[in-house]
């Protein structure tokens, strides 16, 4: 007696001729597609209940940052020349000599795990909140050298924060391009926690 088709389809012991193999793979690909569509539907449903739902259209960090910057300045940020850059020897000399205000543009999670001693956390992600929190220290450094760094590699956070500070009236802002990767990779001292 032959098994019903529905059971036969699920039976791992059933045999498969070569010509049926391609059909089987195609059928499985169809089921993968259904799984993908169902997963997207569940993902969209979960997103509705997140504290900060993701919009359906992606906005770059630059676009989100510009929007956040408008909460600090009355007019939208204007385009300015990019901040100057510096390498590890110059940055290390400035840190050792305490000649500049050093700002870490990474998210607070990474700042707490390890940062350049003396640095303050002005993250790109929560720029407006951090800027208000650090406001007294920052306003005292408007005309002093300020150096911003982020993770290193191809991170853009330090450039975004540096340009925002220039927009906000800071006159001497530079970017340490090597970032945390270069500093920690050179075995230089590190501080941990939320304090500088």
């Amino acid at each position: 007696m032959s098994a019903p088709a529905s059971i036969n389809r699920l039976d791992p012991d059933r045999t498969l001729e070569g010509s049926n193999l391609a059909r089987q793979v195609l059928r499985d690909l169809g089921l993968v597609m259904i799984l993908a569509i169902a997963s997207l539907a569940v993902g969209l449903a979960i997103n509705r209940y997140l504290s900060q739902p993701l919009p359906l259209v992606y906005q770059t960090p630059e676009q989100r940052f510009d929007a956040e910057l408008t909460t600090l300045v009355a007019a939208p940020p204007f385009k300015i020349a990019p901040a100057a850059t510096m390498g590890l020897p110059e940055f290390r000399a400035a840190v050792d000599g305490k000649r500049a205000l050093v700002l870490d543009a990474r998210p607070s999670l990474f700042f707490e795990q390890g940062h350049v001693p003396g640095a303050l956390n002005l993250s790109r992600q929560d720029f407006a909140r951090d800027y208000r929190r650090l406001s007294p220290t920052l306003k005292a450094a408007v005309d002093k050298p300020v150096i911003v760094y982020c993770a290193g590699g191809d991170c853009h956070d330090s450039r975004l924060v540096a340009n925002a500070l220039l927009t906000l009236g800071f006159s001497n802002v530079s970017v340490f391009t090597g970032g945390w990767e270069a500093w920690s990779g050179a075995g230089l001292p590190a501080a941990t926690g939320s304090k500088p």
Binding site: L16, D28, S39, G43, L54, Y58, A151
Partner: protein, 154 residues
């Protein structure tokens, strides 16, 4: 494919399913809580048109969790293995493409991390291992060829 239907592959396929399934469940769960960060990671690869970035950031973590769970269930193992093989292949291709273009990125594969080329290489290697594992599980879950089934019955 024939050799994979030997009895000794039964437990190997089960062990591989457990490892690959657990890895993908972890990867999916680690992204579910912060879709914005994952969207930024996807966009940084500069491969996908902007309009699809957030949809992928919302759909992929649940797809990974679902596939990771389904590969643990015998009745759905075959389809889940194919899903994870395709996912691993896409991840590997995207990572290698970024490495070839000289980019240093946070893959975002297992939640938020610092951009690092060494980590990108490591994650490429992991994806090759997951791809190989998922293919073994998929082929093992396919019905045995008729010739082998006949010889087994004889």
């Amino acid at each position: 494919m024939t050799g994979l239907h030997d009895a000794r592959w039964k437990y190997a396929a089960l062990a591989i399913s457990l490892v690959v399934g657990a890895a993908y469940i972890y990867a999916g769960v680690s992204k579910l809580g912060d879709p914005l960060q994952f969207a930024d990671s996807i966009a940084a690869f500069a491969i996908l048109p902007t309009i699809f970035v957030n949809l992928l950031a919302l759909g992929l973590p649940t797809f990974e969790v679902a596939s990771g769970l389904l590969i643990l269930v015998p009745r759905t193992r075959r389809v889940a293995a194919l899903a994870l093989a395709l996912t691993s292949l896409v991840f590997f291709s995207v990572l290698v493409s970024a490495l070839a273009r000289g980019l240093t990125l946070d893959c975002g594969c297992f939640g938020v991390g610092a951009p690092s080329r060494s980590r990108m290489w490591l994650e490429s290697g992991l994806n090759v291992a997951f791809l190989a594992g998922a293919i073994i599980v998929y082929l093992r879950s396919m019905p045995a060829p008729a010739s082998q089934a006949r010889s087994a019955r004889a």
